[in-house]
Amino acid sequence: MRELRVTPIKNGTVIDHIPAGMALKVLKVLGIDEAVTSTVTVAMHVPSKAMGWKDIVKVEDRELSPREVDKIALIAPRASVNVIRNYNVAEKHVVRLPDRAVGILRCGNPNCITNLREPVETDFLVLRGEPPRVACRYCDRIVEDVAAAIV
């Protein structure tokens, strides 16, 4: 039987070393839903030398913006992002957890000024740890479930 999870893709992105169980959140971050136009392959709970278990997401015909890579770093801080062009790994990036997350999260505090109609982007300090947490620079609220706060 052919192993689906190693099927090579011609063009696109392979996100590897996602913490086991986080693949669906990665899809959400990338805005992949029923309207997606290219093939997306998800492998969950794959044995990994480094991590024990991991998830992998492959998205065909799409490369990620730096902002999308930052979002992935917040939920999968050890992920690697491989850009595939014509069946070859054209670029290989290990994501870097940013120090700040600007404009990519919504503050969970309904009384936070950033949830009003003000002309500002949200701004969070990223706190190290597994999983990383973030703190709103406006209201100090700590967001535990970062994936749920991604806009």
Partner: protein, 310 residues
Amino acid sequence: MASWKGRDILSIRDFSRGDMEVVLKHARKMAPFAEGQKSSQTLEGKILANLFFEPSTRTRLSFESAMIRLGGRVLGFSSVEGTSVQKGETLADTVRMVEGYADAIVLRHPHEGAARLAAEFTERPVINGGDGAGQHPTQTLQDLYTIWDEKGKIEGLSIALVGDLKYGRTAHSLAHALAGFGTSLSFVSPPGLEMPWEIIEEVKKSGTAVSTTHRLEDVVPVADVLYVTRIQRERFPDPQEYERVAGSYRVDLPLLREAKKDLILLHPLPRTTEIDPVVDRTPYAKYFRQAFNAVPVRMALLEMILGVGG
């Protein structure tokens, strides 16, 4: 320490111990001016804008008093009724408009983070006069000043914070401010209203000795400072439960029989039933002095951020 001129006063977290000490020393110099014994014109020609998006008489009047005592003038509003805010103007726009009319801005706002946002839209220094359940740094500095001024030092004191420590922002900010000063802190609260663990951890990390208890009697004999805060009725679904809990955290004369002679008793006011009014006549009661200290502390901050005096 960077220059104070033009500096925003947004959160006590932005202050190092050294910064706080500079404010305390400056505030002490301001005390005779705050009391009206001496007069000063250091802020003559300066205008302070008091932007109060929700009422807070105490905060507003103490800033006004501080500014006027130093020869400055004050404009602004004490609630949003009848202002452009009611027509839907953003805070960012209000601040950019007011910037043209004043040299510094005090902002009181019902939403957390409002002062930081305001500061991003103006070059004028912004003082956070309380934003929602968030920060109120001048209140914290006033509390710190009262302890320092009454006891002559902060280091080495045994300080107990009493009341609703879960939701009470004054207690959170004061605990944070005291963390750098080498005190020993006791957190005394009813079950369910304990100090959040993040704050306990943060305070411990600074090397401060921390203890927690549900019993006020435990801390009274050892405390140098009792900082009492309100326990709000709204936190209890059952009114009888509230009465019972509030009663067991009430400071009265029998309780104080065990206290050190030089204990000082503080409260951010207004109080409800936490301190028996008969205690007001004892030498322990310093909460009205604490309320007065709003003025010298705010005078010091205004002089510093407007780059005069000092």
